[in-house]
């Protein structure tokens, strides 16, 4: 049908940018993180009796998807580099705990050494967790939400550039199917 209609060439030559293929996948894994978010809060409530009071519901409802977006796009930036090397996904295992520590998810940033601060500021999870905490416990979450989304867009740009570059490099060296 496409051949008869003369649209086949157009369909074939209208490429879907690769960023639109990989970014949703990375973001989808972050969306699945909602399961762990809910289960963690429920577990805290049931097993440890932690009350769940939210000071600013609107900010909380905005902060959670903003954090998911920021983290998902950070994951996309990582995923874009994995095009080049087959074993690069092993890096993801290596990055889990350092980012957990340096972004203040469990340990307050004030307890970490001074050099950890600038690293934390560049990572969206730092601002995302801060936004969620300030929305729940009281504070000013909106600037943190803004920084989380802004950093996410920066990651998207970095990831798109890396993806294009690494894909071209992998093709040039004929290693695309080997990577």
């Amino acid at each position: 049908v496409a051949t008869l209609a003369g649209t086949l060439e157009v369909l074939v030559s209208a490429p879907t940018p690769f960023v639109l293929v990989i970014a949703p996948l990375s973001l989808a894994t972050s969306v699945i993180g909602i399961y762990s978010l809910v289960s963690t809060l429920v577990w805290g409530r049931l097993a440890f009796g932690i009350p769940f009071h939210v000071a600013h519901w609107l900010a909380f409802v905005v902060a959670v998807p903003a954090t998911i977006l920021g983290l998902g796009l950070l994951g996309f930036a990582f995923a874009s580099t994995f095009v080049l090397y087959r074993s690069a996904n092993a890096l993801s295992n290596m990055l889990e705990w350092p980012v957990l520590l340096v972004t203040g998810m469990l340990v307050p940033l004030s307890l970490l050494p001074g050099w950890a601060g600038p690293i934390a500021w560049l990572l969206a999870p730092t601002w995302g967790v801060q936004a969620i905490r300030e929305a729940a416990l009281g504070g000013t979450p909106w600037p943190d939400i803004g920084v989380t989304i802004g950093l996410g867009l920066v990651y998207l740009a970095i990831g798109a550039v890396c993806l294009r570059h690494f894909e071209t490099a992998a093709r040039r060296h004929a290693t695309l199917s080997l990577t």
Binding site: V12, P24, T29, G33, V38, W43, L106, P125, V129, S177
Partner: protein, 97 residues
Amino acid sequence: VTGLRVFFVGLRFHVKALTHSVFFLLTSIFMPLLVATVAYYMYRAGNQSGSLLYVSLGAAVYGIWSSTLFGSGGAIQWQRWQGRWRYWSRRRRRSSS
């Protein structure tokens, strides 16, 4: 507009696909619960009961981070194993030639 549509259709598809994977869901839930439990006991040992919601929210975000990293780490590999990688690559090659 088409790009956004592709993006959101892809997002919906992948979320559906991932929620059908019991293994992925268990991984997403089990590890954060483990980390949260350790963190709760540590904070309780430190007599900081007022901070329990603080650490609970941190552990919850860790859950998002954990599943993100697991997913993004395997993003390319999964597509390769499922046989989709070569089609995407071929399509891009045609378009650039």
